[in-house]
Symmetry: C2
Subunit: 639 residues, 2 copies
């Protein structure tokens, strides 16, 4: 099986659904986060310290380092997001701000290329003594990703040069050679960053360093164990069930069969592994990626594309353990799942990868941001009772409303870079085939031809693709048929196509001329969903999906005590476009029953089943929950 | 409304159900725990240090203090249990061992009466500087309880004198007078202990000190806050939702409307409050007791009589928050609930108090001990999946099998003293009425008359009471009609009694002669139980009870994946006496359905409801779970 080729770099988006989110990003998200990074948000907001740390490191300001050891990464992620946004929304003022940020970053770089404000401020003699927990390589990774993106979009090399010097420094300190540290990052990301850098530089040292980080990880004797012994660093996860697997470093990556430990780290590592595997063709690494994909998406993923079942270690737990109310489901982890899915897709043309990418994108990722772009979820639960968030200490990580900022602010800029780079998730191209993975409206260039995609996805399954080309082109168009779609029709210039889907794609080979048109109609009924019976916490429960959208019930529409709802019926289900609700959403109206609470005095009784009365339920898309008032929310209800 | 009088002190037990547990106590439990207290259990067991600490404090051995600050209480609780056991099972060798323990304890007492090995060993200058967390008053309370029990049973004063001297010392250090600490214990128990002491001594100082501890608690300015300020002690619960209510000290006891904080402390405090209220007749305190009873038993109690919904703080959480799998449900808390219930009963003759006492006793207390008397549960869950206990860090407090001993070994000796003193829970007597609360077989003396109770409770609802008396006695016999019983008949000398139950008791006034007989027949069908719809985690679930016994399903009988069971029917339910199973239990055989796991590859699907096949379920009494093999267990299943 072959991959889906390279990311099409001639994609522009013009999409009824995503335009709104992306305009919010430009109008609110990016400027708001720049204010946050500069500590200019109101005083009741968690401070960032991020830019201030760089100014201190550059000798432009006095003070001590603020925030976490990985604080630098926030501005890198913001810069990467800005770079992507400039690709589709040129903005000289924003670019000037970004250049200003880059300038401060560059001034903080040390003569030997080193750049991490935590150690520059607190003492360089301590650098590289805690690869396990001190995130220098993590920050370097995000710097590289920002540098590559900024260079690719603006052509400006300043940050790229900073990154290249830092990579040279890293390469001189870490690696297989004697006298170097035989280490790797406690928090992966540099693996995929180096692979992106390699795409630009084609410098084999960049590929080899990425490979080294992937292959050395978890080898015996364990670097982290030796590092702790040498430096006296603390091993926080000593008594945890996952121990070094918290870092996905408990065993070599090819021996890892399950997605374990910190879920964001896992997703970033697996993405880097897939990048290296694609470049090197290493079959054992491809197999490892497939195993970890299976574990993640077939046994340890929520219906929303959330991953990470437990707050303890922000981690995966065990197969089919998917509690809805104590979930971690970090926004960054779903973003990471999207990274991983796209990379698996580039390894193998299988629709299941794009299905998961779409699931995470339209549900567990979008839910991370308030519709106004100014508040964020770290944790994305599938069941919330506000009283429990307040009073049950084991649910205090679950918030019933989005927060303005976080001490650990990984998610907000991750949302920026994800949404600003959506172009890169829509289509890929091999020599002879153009793959369409996501039905986001806009234009896709292929050679000299332009394919225009229009429709009203995800609210409607009818999608039109039209060619504009000066001369006919010979190309197979591979259209993804989503896993959720049980019936579809494809018309090519009003003639029914006869091709059948293969591994999730319908391949239409043809010489396409100007004005040629494909009409894809994905049947998009309301679907009553059930969970795999191995998922204990979903036993006997159902929920609704339509197209890629997972729905939920909110107290605002359905009253409290959502656990009393049952007997969901699709008999008279209605799909209702509500332009004024939550920025415009398709709501679902269904019938169900609500159990009565009346007549109960005791806690337990052998009375008959409680009476129920018919109720009409109003379902909203999961991603839009918690945008009106604080209240209960549930994805799953009793059948 | 008046109370049920005093505990009948002429009760002897001869009961098919409890004899076995109590013989195990004599044969195994008491000697085993003595070995534990002396650190003579196998090396893989948690050490106790308890007796060793006393020997060091008495100058008979060198060394440092081992274990927790409250380690002393373990031997006091053991001694109390031994005292109760000697009442019904005289054992000179055991009494000699107890005397030996008492001798070591007495030798450790300081000239001024102080006695707590932690401070004697670590430095007396620090004593009374951490009433909040250092348990000196808690240990004193258990010493008093042991001393009173040992004195009452054996007539020996040595431990009583030690206790009296210690109380004199406490009275000289703590109290309302200027120059004394205006404090109270972080862990209650001394309140009810002093009330028991007062029963023996009638020394008003003992009553007043108990009253003081109850009334001063939570008053402003808060003693614990001032103590922390003065001494620099740590306040562990500063950022918890309950703060000082962890200690039930966040407000004065009369202002406390909810059972909050550490559940064992709550139960012990409420018991002490009820003791003081009964003695003083203080209406505001009686009202406070009633409020806390309502909160505990009408909104925060499990069907097994377990209390304490969360491991965090071993605490109550909030109304109707009763998760079955992350529960704390400490054995000691159910024992404390039994204490509280009995004291409420002595305040007011209402069957609901005895109902809760019975519920806790036959379920959540007995479950704490293995049938062989040598292993113990601290936490008593209603739903267990062994894999989750191992791999979900938020369930690591839940064990799928009982443990040999604990670093904090409060539960095992608490079980001894509870079961060894069962006589005191069966009957109470006022001037004219003899109340029968629990149908445990044996004899109850009332004046010169003896009432013999026989039957096969809890397996059978037929109970016979027969008088032996030389001369007729005029007495109202008040028979409790359990809340679970919807239909019963009472025959007095084969004539149907016409009295109707009033607040849970049928009162039969009569002049009783020798050979007079009451036949009580409590209808005892299998009951399908539902939980109050406000309990979110039990929505849509059912379980079975019969008489006072709560049933559960184990993997050993029903296979794993118990969450797939549903469709419980009582249509062909069978009740089956199995003498060879679990020491002899009545099992229940019912029909239900088991959902198939077949055909699932994905995690989520819009497939039809999964197929189910009929299965026969075998239910065992909850108290007997985890006595065969490690496996799944569930009390509640889908309806």
């Amino acid at each position: 099986m072959s991959g889906c080729g390279k990311i099409s770099n001639g994609v522009t988006i013009n999409d009824g659904f995503f335009n709104r989110f992306r305009e919010t990003l430009i109008r609110e998200g990016i400027p708001y986060q720049w204010e946050a990074l500069n500590d200019r948000l109101p005083a009741d907001t968690e401070p960032s310290y991020c830019i201030r740390n760089f100014r201190i490191a550059a000798g432009k300001e006095e003070g001590s380092h603020g925030g976490f050891v990985f604080q630098d990464s926030d501005v890198y992620k913001w810069l990467e997001g800005v770079a992507f946004s400039l690709r589709w929304h040129p903005d000289p003022a924003l670019e000037a701000t970004a250049d200003e940020a880059i300038s401060i970053i560059a001034e903080a770089q040390q003569p030997d290329g080193y750049l991490d404000t935590y150690y520059i401020i607190n003492g360089l003699e301590k650098r590289w003594t805690n690869l396990k927990d001190h995130h220098e390589l993590y920050c370097a990774g995000h710097m590289i990703e920002a540098a590559v993106a900024y260079y690719m979009v603006t052509g400006k090399r300043r940050l790229l040069d900073v990154a290249l010097r830092f990579v040279d420094h890293i390469d001189s300190v870490i690696g297989p050679e004697e006298g170097k540290l035989h280490g790797y990052p406690g928090h992966p990301v540099i693996e995929m960053a180096l692979m992106r850098l390699y795409e630009v530089t084609k410098d084999p040292r960049h590929l080899h360093l990425a490979e080294y980080f992937v292959n050395e990880r978890g080898q015996s004797p364990l670097f982290f164990e030796e590092e702790d012994r040498r430096t006296g660093n603390n091993f926080y996860w000593k008594n945890s069930p996952f121990r070094y697997q918290y870092y996905q470093a408990g065993k070599p990556v090819r021996a890892q069969k399950d997605a374990e430990g910190h879920s964001v780290r896992a997703m970033y590592l697996f993405s880097g592994m897939a990048d290296v595997a694609r470049e090197t063709g290493d079959e054992s690494l491809i197999t490892a990626c497939r195993n970890l994909w299976e574990s993640t998406t077939k046994r340890r993923m929520y219906i929303t594309g959330a991953v990470g079942s437990t707050e303890y270690g922000e981690a995966f737990s065990f197969d089919y353990d998917l509690p809805n109310d104590t979930i971690y489901g970090e926004t960054c982890a779903s973003i990471g799942l999207c990274f991983f899915a796209r990379r698996m897709l580039m390894l193998e043309a299988r629709g299941e990868y794009a299905d998961v990418m779409e699931r995470a994108l339209y549900n567990g990722i979008l839910s991370g941001m308030q519709l106004d772009g100014k508040r964020f979820f770290y944790v994305n639960p599938l069941e919330v009772v506000p009283e429990a968030c307040e009073k049950d200490p084991h649910k205090r990580h679950v918030k019933p409303e989005r927060q303005k900022w976080f001490g650990c602010a990984c998610c907000p800029p991750n949302l920026i870079r994800m949404l600003a780079s959506l172009e890169d998730y829509i289509a890929t191209e091999t020599a002879d085939t153009l793959y369409i993975h996501l039905y986001i409206g806009g234009e896709i260039k292929s050679g000299d031809a332009v394919l225009t995609l229009t429709g009203n996805y995800p609210w409607d399954g009818k999608i039109q693709l039209e060619f504009r080309t000066e001369r006919p082109i010979c190309k197979t168009i591979a259209l993804r048929i989503p896993g959720w779609c049980h019936s579809c029709t494809i018309m090519v210039n009003d003639m029914a196509a006869t091709e059948k889907p293969r591994d999730g794609y319908v391949y239409i080979p043809r010489i396409w001329g100007d004005g040629d048109r494909i009409d894809l109609c994905l049947d998009m009924p309301v679907r009553m969903m059930r969970a795999n019976p191995r998922i204990r916490k979903d036993a006997g429960l159902v929920t609704l999906c339509r197209g890629p959208i997972v729905y939920c019930l909110e107290e605002a529409d359905n009253g409290g005590d959502l656990h009393l709802l049952h007997g969901l019926s699709l008999a008279h289900a209605r799909v209702q476009w509500e332009p004024e609700t939550l920025g415009g959403v398709m709501t679902l109206i269904t019938e169900a029953e609500r159990e009565s609470r009346l007549g109960w005095d005791n806690l337990y009784d052998d009375c008959p089943a409680p009476a129920s009365t018919p109720v009409q339920l109003r379902w909203i898309p999961y991603y839009a929950w918690a945008n009106r008032s604080v209240g209960e929310m549930r994805v799953w209800i009793r059948q």
